[in-house]
């Protein structure tokens, strides 16, 4: 797959159809892979990588790159194409200036899950018939592939590309995922239990803002969390109110626009399950205002910029659920 991608990227660079390529490159270790922009065949040969760790959704980089002179080639997994659609719809990305090659999705791996098995000094990870062969400083280790799957991939919602100019590999289908199970489990707890759960989770937040910075729905040029007058500017939360405020507002700002790409939870250094907040909004929107998948198209109206006269009253929150 990686070879086919590099080959195609080189062709498109060579015939002048694109000026730049957005993909992934290796970091210090084989598993810490970062998004990168390539401008020449040499750079592609040297650094371009596509493997079990290329989980980053690179669509957000198009906000900047698509505004530059010349077309940009981007490799998008199915989930990332939803983000691109959403960005196109919000006029954040100039779709005409982007050439999308759809590539197959995961499952991708979570290095932390490998480390959690007590495996250290990791040099490389290979997948052989769903067994991971992990080369470490201390010899080779093995573990089942399924034990190291990234959470966002474990509850994948779709293997279908919703926008692309060409595909490498096969297109898939929309899946039946279990992504709302945990939200439902929380909903069925008592208010006290939910409160305790979230206090424990949210108090871990160090306000690094990684969740916002990575989010393709968070592309505001002036973010409320950077505004010193807001009282919630870049700083560690001073108390439990500020923790909750940050998380409620962050999730609310992306409500109806979040494609559930899972990036926020993936990058959180504190492992806070931010996806549960996003999914709570998605679940509510689906049940109260009709099924809606952000990014599925570029024309539908977002649920929060739309209404019907027959919408339920806010008191519905009081009428349902566990006290």
């Amino acid at each position: 797959m990686q070879e086919a991608m590099i080959k195609r990227a080189k062709e498109l660079l060579a015939d002048g159809s694109v000026k730049r390529v957005i993909g992934w490159k290796r970091g210090e270790f084989a598993y810490d892979i970062t998004p990168a922009v390539f401008e020449s065949a040499e750079e592609l040969d040297k650094d371009f990588v596509f493997d079990v760790f290329t989980s980053a959704n690179v669509s957000k980089y198009l906000v900047k790159e698509s505004k530059k002179e010349g077309k940009v080639l981007v490799f998008l997994k199915p989930c990332d194409t939803y983000s691109l659609n959403q960005l196109t719809k919000e006029h954040r990305v100039d779709r005409d200036n982007v050439y999308v090659i759809g590539i197959p999705g995961g499952p991708k791996l979570d290095i932390e899950k490998i480390r959690a098995k007590g495996i250290t000094g990791i040099l490389s990870v290979r997948n052989e018939n769903f067994t991971l062969k992990i080369e470490t400083l201390y010899g080779e280790e093995t573990m089942p592939f399924s034990d190291a799957i990234l959470d966002k991939c474990a509850s994948c919602k779709s293997k279908k590309h919703v926008t692309y100019d060409e595909l490498i590999g096969e297109d898939g289908d929309i899946l039946d995922s279990d992504r709302f199970d945990m939200v439902e489990k929380l909903e069925n707890m008592t208010a006290q239990e939910r409160y305790d759960f979230w206090r424990e989770q949210l108090s871990k937040c160090i306000r690094c803002n990684a969740c916002r910075n990575v989010c393709p729905a968070c592309t505001c040029e002036k973010c409320v969390f950077d505004d010193p007058a807001s009282g919630v500017e870049n700083k560690a939360a001073a108390d439990s109110f500020e923790e909750k405020m940050f998380h409620i507002i962050r999730a609310f700002h992306v409500a109806g626009r979040c494609t559930d790409c899972g990036e926020c939870s993936r990058v959180c250094p504190q492992n806070i399950p931010l996806h549960l907040l996003n999914r709570k909004f998605i679940k509510d929107i689906n049940s109260l205002y009709g099924e809606y998948q952000a990014g599925a198209d570029t024309t539908s109206r977002a649920p929060l910029t739309d209404y019907t006269a027959e919408d339920c009253e806010s008191s519905i929150v009081h009428e349902r659920g566990v006290e």
């Binding site: 208010a191 239990e193 939910r194 206090r199 405020m245 009081h318």
Partner: protein, 148 residues
């Protein structure tokens, strides 16, 4: 939160009222000499949809025990559709607060027209009672803002 001479808890209520209906409704309940608790603090807004989720959180932060948002009846908004957006926004916000384990009776949306002075007073009495039962807001307060 305030405590009167009998050491009885009196919740502090913040009521966002839209200029065109509910604020006028509050006025009418005043001119009709209807009683509602003095601890209901009204904040006038041009339309219910002026209230963004941050306003609600801020009110709690600064010491409110309950926050109520009043606007024109659906269909009667001075700006045609503002309150329809409000309705979706607040439904989702309240649901999220509930999801985080914050007592759901601390928040409410009510539609009150300029002619409904009696409804305004009754709503405030009822809401204040409900919040009083819950006691002081502890789950969404900023300790640095606590008065006593």
């Amino acid at each position: 939160m305030q405590v009167n001479e009998n050491k009885e808890f009196q919740p502090l209520i913040v009521a966002f009222c839209c200029n065109w209906c509910s604020y006028a409704g509050a006025d009418l309940s005043g001119t009709n000499r209807l009683n509602y608790p003095t601890n209901v603090k009204i904040i006038r807004v041009p339309c219910s949809c002026r209230v963004n989720p941050m306003f609600i959180l801020r009110a709690f932060q600064r010491g409110a025990d309950g926050v109520i948002l009043c606007g024109c009846h659906p269909g009667d908004c001075h700006y045609t559709s503002g309150n329809y957006f409000t309705r979706r926004r607040m439904t989702l916000l309240f649901s999220m607060l509930d999801f985080l384990g914050i007592e759901r009776d601390r928040t409410r949306v009510e539609w009150v027209s300029a002619a409904e002075g009696a409804k305004f007073a009754a709503t405030m009495n009822e809401f204040t009672e409900a919040v009083k039962k819950l006691g002081p807001n502890r789950r969404l307060e900023d300790l640095r803002c606590r008065k006593q």
